[in-house]
């Protein structure tokens, strides 16, 4: 495209002027966008002109696919008052031209082609457009009578009644598609029963008008999993309530590529009075790699790319394919091959060449073909979602999994914790969304927000699986699952819940395809509801293994500590639940009295930190456990991470369990360790008892820590992420 300076204005000089109502949600706009891209790739320049058509009464933005073409420079947007010169104007949807309420005095086009995407009238006589009026509008706006290009054989047949042969192009103007952008990775059937589905606007014309036919092609008895994108109000008015076995989403609720990727069969039957001239969604399903089943009248359009059956035959056809995987894959491959051969970008370039000749050589002015935005890596992305606990346990656990992920997986984080930038230090990308409390949002609104954020992330990142670590699965998870039913979810939830608590949350296991329980060294004492719940149990999970730790001298140097002085670590939780200052004070005073150097941890996300003592080293490092060999003794809360890191890495410890947690039974965990002689524990720290226990740890702690290490079954992080990988392999 070029703008040519003239006496009083600029001229938009292009090869192709695409004219349509660019607000259409469905196939028309999608086809315009595909043709623009094909034109750009073939060296043709494009401008688009929007005309308000008769089908969009409400104020509506342009279709996003068209907007993307405009934004990436594949086309320019012409306004009615512009001066435009084009070798051909291609009008999509004759009614748009017929109803155009504009004048285009500055437009000069060499020829006009009207693409007839529907017959002039339906079988019942309803008029979509009048050929004579469209011709008149073309002459008024562009100064010449148009050629007509039917989108398929049915429309060609209908147009033949109203147009002389020379006004109709010899070849159908079929829709085109970028098969690679739609092709989905399929390793087996989507479920243990056939998953069939359809994608179309929800209007009575688009659904069978007969209840019996409807039930024949879209079973309502649960024998097949029926998924609908585009709404099914028309079905509701036909048969009452929607069948419970159906999963219905409104138009635009999911990315069609994701939706189609989850189907085994695309089954499309419509009202017999409706003349479905082409059906772009059919082509999309073929490109996706689903087996497509259609009424026989589509055969001239899609040939051997689809299978054709009368409604009564549909169930048998599906069952036959489902029982013969090899045959299924042959048919799916035929669909993709036909899509590529008949409906690829090359086909469009060839027909343009036939109309206006070769593209003009202006390579330096052409936009580069837009880079594909599809995730092309062979590695499967795993979206790691952590809730926002009181500390960093959820995030740390997911990070432990990520570090041990096989090469086939690519972890990516979405966290409700403001500590999430830490994962970048390990080379992972991340996103953040605030949890409910800091926003002030009411619960229902926040849940809806969570759903929208997660669904958006899944659409954009296309993960193979989602792993959620938290003890409280949000309602939004279930909703987001519904938005992307093909993406499996894994729930990583530690045990040791307070006895009898959170049973309702445990019931949410049903939302997940796999439940992983990171083990607990104190699990024999676990009396919470998870203790007997089904789960894939792995060893206790810590971010680091013993081999990852610095040697003592290196650790002390890294922390700026005296190389030989006895040194204690005081770590009493993230500080967000309660105020641990008094416990810290007692510990500091006792250690000072014992002549021990003191280090206190300051959590990365602490809102306040009440330790101001010049004799205390304040540490804020992640992961601090890398330096645990620097310490001779520790005073710690008994949260999952601290507990297992201190015992696994052999630090003699006095546990002061946090008794104000919502769910984590730290007291039971700490007492179990104490009972087994691995550590000491105190519910209520008093200076004299603290002193007595710390003195004992200084004298005998090494043997206690060794006993704990001897009981450690090893880090379960690798087994946990391996379970995720196996889940994906099974699918």
């Amino acid at each position: 495209m070029s703008r040519t300076a003239t006496d009083d204005d600029d001229v938009i000089d292009v090869d192709v002027l695409d004219v349509s109502d660019l607000r259409f949600e469905g196939g028309t706009s999608g086809s315009v966008a595909e043709e623009i891209r094909a034109q750009a790739a073939g060296g043709y320049t494009t401008a688009v002109l929007h005309l308000d058509g008769p089908l969009q009464a409400k104020v509506t933005p342009f279709n996003p696919a068209v907007v993307r073409c405009l934004e990436d420079g594949s086309a320019s947007l012409a306004m009615p008052h512009d001066s435009v010169r084009a070798r051909v104007a291609v009008v999509r949807h004759p009614a748009v031209l017929e109803h155009a309420d504009v004048d285009l005095p500055g437009f000069q086009v060499d020829q006009v082609v009207v693409v007839a995407n529907a017959a002039p009238r339906d079988i019942d006589g309803y008029v979509h457009y009048r050929v004579a009026d469209v011709n008149a509008a073309a002459r008024r706006l562009f100064g010449s009578a148009p050629s007509w290009a039917p989108i398929g054989p049915l429309v060609r047949e209908a147009l033949a009644e109203e147009l002389s042969e020379e006004r109709v192009l010899a070849e159908d103007w079929v829709n085109i598609i970028d098969v690679d952008a739609w092709s989905a990775r399929r390793t087996g059937y989507a479920s243990d029963r056939p998953v069939i589905g359809r994608h179309s606007r929800d209007s009575p014309q688009k659904w069978p008008e007969d209840t019996a036919v409807l039930r024949q092609v879209y079973p309502t008895d649960g024998s097949m999993d029926v998924r609908v994108l585009g709404g099914a109000m028309s079905v509701k008015s036909l048969i009452g309530d929607l069948p419970s076995a159906w999963h219905v989403q409104p138009f635009g609720a999911a990315d069609p590529r994701d939706f189609l990727a989850g189907l085994d069969f695309f089954v499309y039957y419509h009202n017999r009075k409706w003349v479905e001239a082409f059906g772009r969604t059919i082509l999309e399903a073929m490109a996706s790699g689903a087996v497509v089943i259609l009424p026989p009248h589509f055969a001239p359009v899609f040939g051997e790319g689809a299978t054709y059956a009368e409604p009564r035959e549909v169930r048998g056809v599906i069952e036959a394919f489902y029982g013969d995987r090899e045959r299924y894959e042959r048919q799916a491959a035929a669909g993709q091959r036909i899509a590529r051969e008949r409906f690829g970008a090359d086909a469009h370039v060839r027909r343009l060449e036939g109309l206006i000749g070769a593209a003009r050589p202006e390579p330096e002015q052409r936009p580069a073909p837009p880079a594909t935005s599809r995730h092309s890596s062979e590695r499967q992305r795993v979206l790691m979602i952590s809730s926002n606990g009181t500390g960093m346990g959820h995030l740390t656990r997911l990070l432990a999994y990520a570090r041990r992920a096989p090469q086939t997986l690519s972890p990516y984080f979405l966290s409700l914790s403001q500590a999430v930038p830490l994962v970048a230090r390990f080379g992972y990308r991340y996103e953040y969304m605030p949890s409910m409390t800091p926003t002030g949002l009411d619960p229902d609104r926040w849940q809806a927000y969570f759903r929208a954020r997660v669904s958006e992330a899944i659409s954009r990142l296309r993960p193979a699986a989602v792993v959620f670590d938290g003890t409280w699965p949000y309602k939004g998870i279930r909703w987001a699952r519904g938005d992307h039913p093909n993406v499996p979810w894994v729930w990583s939830r530690r045990g040791m819940w307070y006895k009898g608590m959170n049973r309702d949350q445990l019931a949410k296991s049903a939302w997940f395809d796999l439940v992983i329980e990171p083990g607990d060294l104190a699990s024999p004492a676990d009396r919470g509801v998870t203790a007997d719940a089904p789960a894939t149990r792995v060893g206790p999970v810590t971010l680091l293994d013993l081999d990852d730790l610095d040697e003592r001298s290196v650790a002390r140097q890294a922390l700026g500590l005296d190389p030989v002085a006895p040194t204690a670590l005081v770590t009493l939780g993230a500080g967000n639940i309660n105020d641990p200052s008094s416990a810290i004070r007692i510990a500091i005073d006792v250690f000072r009295a014992l002549g021990v150097e003191i280090c206190v941890t300051k959590p990365e996300i602490a809102e306040r930190f009440g330790v101001h003592d010049e004799h205390v080293h304040v540490l804020s490092r992640y992961p601090l456990s890398r330096h645990y060999r620097a310490f001779d003794v520790a005073v710690s809360a008994a949260g999952y991470n601290s507990f297992h890191e201190l015992l696994r890495f052999g630090v003699p410890t006095l546990f002061l369990p946090n008794l104000d947690t919502a769910l984590d039974d730290q007291r039971t965990r700490a007492r179990y360790a104490s009972d087994r002689g691995w550590a000491h524990c105190l519910d209520k720290p008093e200076p004299h008892t603290v002193r007595k226990l710390l003195e004992d740890l200084i004298d005998n702690g090494a043997a206690m820590a060794a006993a704990a290490q001897a009981a450690d079954p090893g880090n379960g992080a690798a087994a946990a992420i391996e379970a995720v990988a196996e889940l994906l392999e099974e699918r």
Partner: protein
């Protein structure tokens, strides 16, 4: 419903119907008088109400913060220290004017900037780190969807957009002018 379609078909076949339809429908859609009439008759009010739930943070005391407009403070391309300085200044303006509830939206994880004030902080992925092979969309589309969702979720009725230098004089004036006032009589 079939009779409606038949009637519409008959109507459209009348002589001059096409021209009349184009002119009349176009006029109806553009007419402010008709829009005003429809609004009165059907009592359509898109103004809505201010959200009761979105936090105003910890800076303002007293009741009535739910009457303040939620304002997105969008900071893109600035360094973390600029974000921190900006949020500090936003807090001071909020304290002085008691005029808005800020939601901080930035593309650097400067969470600590908003934490002392109790403001919601929303993180955008920075354009400089956008990898087209990772995302099935452009950064522009991503930002449009994210910010659109923020407007809808927080029901923000105002926003200011800041670049690498943080607040300028105009944005300070805009922030200072957000306190709801009774319309002139």
């Amino acid at each position: 419903m079939a009779w409606k379609r038949r009637f519409t078909g008959w109507l459209l076949r009348l002589p001059g119907a096409g021209i009349a339809r184009r002119r009349v429908v176009g006029w109806l859609r553009r007419s402010t008088t008709v829009r005003s009439l429809v609004k009165r008759v059907f009592a359509i009010d898109t103004a809505g109400t201010l959200p009761l739930d979105v936090t105003a943070g910890r800076v303002l005391g007293g009741v009535g913060t739910e009457q303040l407009p939620v304002t997105l403070v969008v900071i893109v391309g600035a360094e973390a220290k600029t974000v921190t300085a900006t949020v500090d200044e936003v807090a001071r303006i909020q304290l002085m004017t008691a005029g808005f509830r800020p939601v901080i939206v930035a593309d650097v994880p400067a969470f600590a900037s908003a934490r002392p004030y109790g403001y919601p902080f929303e993180l955008l992925l920075p354009e400089s780190e956008w990898d087209v092979s990772e995302h099935a969309t452009t950064w522009d589309d991503y930002v449009r969807r994210r910010v659109g969702l923020l407007f809808a979720t927080y029901r923000a009725t105002a926003s200011i957009t800041l670049g690498r230098d943080g607040l300028d004089h105009t944005s300070r004036l805009v922030l200072s002018s957000l306190r709801p006032v009774a319309p002139a009589a």
